[in-house]
Symmetry: C2
């Protein structure tokens, strides 16, 4: 092969995918370029090359920016998954060496949830003969699945139906009903049962809003909150009510009452891991969890 000769050009590089995703998300080449820390023309050119290489129009150019074609929608969806997989490879390799040859596993869970379960799991697992180090990462609701996908974590405690476990293997750890938590003095607090519709429409007790994955909040009444302790404090102050799995009963202090809900979906706690995982640590944790 002479120096001038190059490889066949139809393999997509991750750089190109990152550029494409940025442009797709911004719907604007200039803004995407700023976000990427580069000038606009090379980005335009890179997108053009990608389009020629794939033989696809990915964007329609409009006077206000760009919008995705249907092929572009496909590439955005698949490309994000591919980038997450590349990042996962990178991160898990870095972690493998950081552990200095000794195996390690990163477990992630919703902050403030399943506390007892986690404590017990970690205790029992640590007593196993072949246990490896477990790093626990607590993060906001909904962040566990992405972390599993991009390699920041190896195994997660998730809660169906709130978390999406598709694409992972998962074992069920338990199922529980949800209850409404409200201030103990409130007139509704003496009821023995309630529907979700009723719970949502208690006039002076709005259900708080939780942030979406991107950090924005859904529209509607009720306070905006990020944290379980915050919520419970607000409930105690008589400013809100909230639906929670019934384990919280154990953590409740004075000033809070609980009403069972007749029609709320049951919550399943699961332990989930990437289905291609080969980590002995993950396998051990899962085995331990199944015995709890």
């Amino acid at each position: 092969m002479t120096p001038g000769e190059r490889r066949s050009l139809d393999d997509v590089e991750t750089r190109e995918l990152r550029y494409f995703v940025a442009v797709a998300e911004e719907a604007h080449v200039g803004r995407a370029a700023r976000r990427l820390g580069m000038a606009q023309p090379p980005l335009s050119r890179a997108i053009g090359q990608l389009e020629r290489r794939l033989g696809a129009e990915l964007f329609v150019r409009t006077p206000r920016g760009v919008t995705l074609t249907s092929a572009g929608e496909t590439l955005l969806h698949e490309g994000r998954a591919a980038l997450a997989a590349v990042e996962a490879a990178e991160r898990r390799t870095r972690r493998a060496v950081a552990a200095g040859g000794r195996a390690t596993v990163v477990l992630t869970a919703k902050a403030g949830a399943s506390g007892d379960l986690m404590a017990k799991l970690l205790d029992v697992y640590a007593a196993e003969p072949d246990a490896v180090d477990v790093e626990v990462v607590l993060s906001p609701p909904g962040h566990q699945a992405p972390m599993l996908r991009d390699g920041r974590a190896d195994v997660a405690i998730l809660h169906r139906p709130f978390d999406d476990t598709s694409g992972f293997d998962a074992d069920e750890l338990g199922v529980e009903d949800q209850v409404l938590v409200l201030p103990s003095g409130h007139p509704s607090s003496t009821r023995t049962s309630m529907t979700v519709a009723e719970a949502s429409s208690i006039p002076d007790l709005p259900l708080p809003r939780w942030p979406h994955l991107d950090g924005t909040y859904p529209d509607g009444p009720g306070p905006e909150l990020r944290d379980l302790t915050q919520v419970l404090q607000l409930v105690r102050l008589g400013r809100a009510a909230i639906l929670l799995p019934e384990v919280v009963r154990a953590d409740l202090r004075d000033g809070l009452a609980v009403v069972p809900l007749s029609d709320a979906p049951r919550v399943t706690t699961v332990i989930a891991w990437p289905s291609h995982s080969t980590s002995a640590g993950v396998a051990g944790l899962v085995r331990t969890a199944a015995r709890l």
Copy 2:
């Protein structure tokens, strides 16, 4: 940003992953370089750069070639998955445009299996009001899951426990027992039941060997075969016996007999798709399949 300034260097490019995987698979830099169609030194350098970037020793250099470290094992595993995801993005985008904006879906199944089921599925689905074009790709046993992973197919008919469905979403389509197919004149052909152990040890009727995914054959007695018709012909000739799901009864012609097996694992036919799929065609096919 001045011209000389470059992006942060810690994102791994797919080219580097391909190089790494080639070296890991060959366990030899020179051979890998030949396979990649390039010279050995730049490949050595690329691997060195990747190692420095990840802060990991990926290979130990030996006088006979290279072998993977444990960090290298991790990267090989994760990197293959990442490369498959990138290829999937590329292929599905190309297919999206090849269809000229009209949606299409690629269905793959084992050649020669589930014929009736597939025919019925395609017929019923084609009658749906919002049906899209379905391209059927028949391929050797075990190739369906990789095709789903790297984007050559969008949905597959698989058979548990033979196929690994982990990482996919799947709906069960049916469960059936396995039977032993043997020449009709054979002494054992009059038995009403048999165990797998008995079936494997009929002296003059060895069970044929099927190729592994890489095309090699397991060790042992019995003929090497790739194709169901081949097998059945061989059975009819009195040279082999074979375990098959009992639907094959329908396809059997003269000269073949069937004995139920008491302890063979039941075979579950499933329809499977990548869990992040958003294709309307896949959804429609799955919905149709569930109603069969």
